[in-house]
Symmetry: C2
Subunit: 299 residues, 2 copies
């Protein structure tokens, strides 16, 4: 990752210090292992998805005006939006170049589609956010595109590197999709009930950003129009700590968190079932445990 530009190396070192969960490269390798075996291409796929994911996190933090990421200051906080946008582009290009140079054209096909879906999902969320009119169907569309698309792609890339068996590829892709859905719903729940010191960022961030996620969608649908209009106008007009606390209380009172948790469990179950065509093995069991980890995680 060495670059002739000093600033790029500086930011790269800063990013590496942050140490994420590395779930995406892990998924590439486990998927490869389950469907045929890890090889050179699997490792390249793992690097590709982590570079791409890092690029999108940096752009996301610009998009969300986030100050913190993994308990460190975000890149946009330290180096400003300008540098963040460019560093994201740079990492994306580096990832794609890795695939291009090694002629991993099948990876490119799936990864560019994922990049498109990720930006589409975020833009759809913003569009709906402005009107505060998101329903469950649109919410699932948003999280499928913005989050599950990349996780699905990780599993597919692992499979592509290891096997030509289309059924195996499809099964792992379905596993990734369902895991990704569960992952994002969990993420959205954590914004309501997480502990900020574990998350590395404050809770209630989505409410401040006027992002309406599953726990709130469910709660808004449950109450009468008068109450839901009131809550919507509060979200629209205020974003101080008291309002955020009030919205969290409203969601808790209406079992929005419990409902979202049940939906995440449903996707978790689907993810596990997607693996049914594979024989039992240590790797399969690891992928199953990963589903539980993702659905139960505290950060």
């Amino acid at each position: 990752m060495k670059s002739k530009v000093g600033l790029i190396d500086l930011i790269a070192r800063y990013i590496i210090r942050q140490k994420g969960k590395k779930i995406r490269p892990l998924l590439v390798l486990l998927s490869a292992k389950l469907s045929g075996g890890i090889n050179e291409r699997s490792y390249r796929g793992a690097v590709l998805v982590e570079l791409l994911h890092t690029a999108t996190l940096i752009h996301d933090d610009v998009v969300d005006n986030a100050d913190k990421r993994r308990n460190f200051w975000s890149i946009n906080k330290v180096f400003k939006n300008k540098v963040s946008v460019l560093m994201g582009d740079y990492l994306l290009a580096r990832g794609l170049m890795l695939a291009v140079e090694n002629e991993d054209f099948d990876f490119l096909k799936v990864i560019t589609k994922a990049v498109k879906r990720m930006s589409e999902g975020e833009l759809l969320q913003i569009q709906k956010t402005r009107k505060l009119d998101i329903n469950e169907e649109t919410y699932f569309q948003v999280i499928s595109d913005k989050t599950a698309s990349l996780i699905e792609t990780c599993c597919l890339i692992g499979a592509l590197s290891a096997t030509e068996n289309k059924e195996y590829q499809d099964a792992l892709k379905a596993y990734g999709h369902n895991l990704g859905m569960s992952f994002q719903i969990r993420d959205d729940i954590l914004d309501y009930e997480g502990q900020s010191f574990l998350l590395g960022k404050p809770i209630g961030g989505d409410i401040k950003e006027k992002k309406i996620t599953l726990p709130l969608i469910y709660s808004l649908n449950k109450v009468d129009k008068k109450e839901s209009d009131l809550i919507r106008s509060k979200i629209k007009n205020n974003n101080n700590k008291a309002t955020v606390k009030e919205i969290i209380e409203f969601v808790r009172r209406n079992n929005g968190i419990e409902y979202a948790y049940q939906v995440s469990l449903m996707f978790a179950e689907k993810a596990k079932n997607s693996l049914s065509i594979f024989n039992d093995s240590e790797v399969k069991s690891a992928l199953e445990k990963l589903v539980d980890f993702v659905t139960e995680r505290k950060n």
Copy 2:
């Protein structure tokens, strides 16, 4: 370009209304025509570079906090930074998908390298801007990466679509590089002597952004250390209209614009010479005239 996300279509229509010079797709087609003939792949290449260029313009305007682009409000001004970053990512992905789906893998090789160089060039410029210590050598490195790389790539893509003759490809690549250098130097000159109603943005923008370009580099080198330190400290500490005017005066007095113009002519000459291996033709003459247009343009 239709998308299922309404916001994307809205922004796409806004972009299309702006009507740029379309120099980059033009270069793809002229290069193809000169080196063998335009075909389906040439058209795809032209679309690819225009999508990519549009994506980078949108990110650039975020990076530069620009309010105006082509006499219209910039995307970041109308739709905010969030949406701009994502729309840039979306257009980049759409462009890459076009190449991937049609298996134009040679295009992908050169285009991903260009994206990497463009972000590297911008980041190098920012790094140097912070210290105000850029010299001519670094300036040439910056503009080669941030601007010439894509123009060079347009010509190369045109050639790749039309011929397998390596000499033709190299000649058009060299033409594009030199044209791009001349193009950016002209751009930097226009920031000092252009007319804002033609440019579609105010002059002196680079000075406000503390970007030190060729006219200023030359002028700073020409005067004694005392004067250059004074000018540097003014750039550093002030960015009001009076300071900008003073810096422009300083550069004019020291023939910085005239010097930069001579350098741009040198690159223009090199660009024309790069075409010497081709027989004279209407297309070759068009490419030569494009060099003059770029070097003399008022916007």
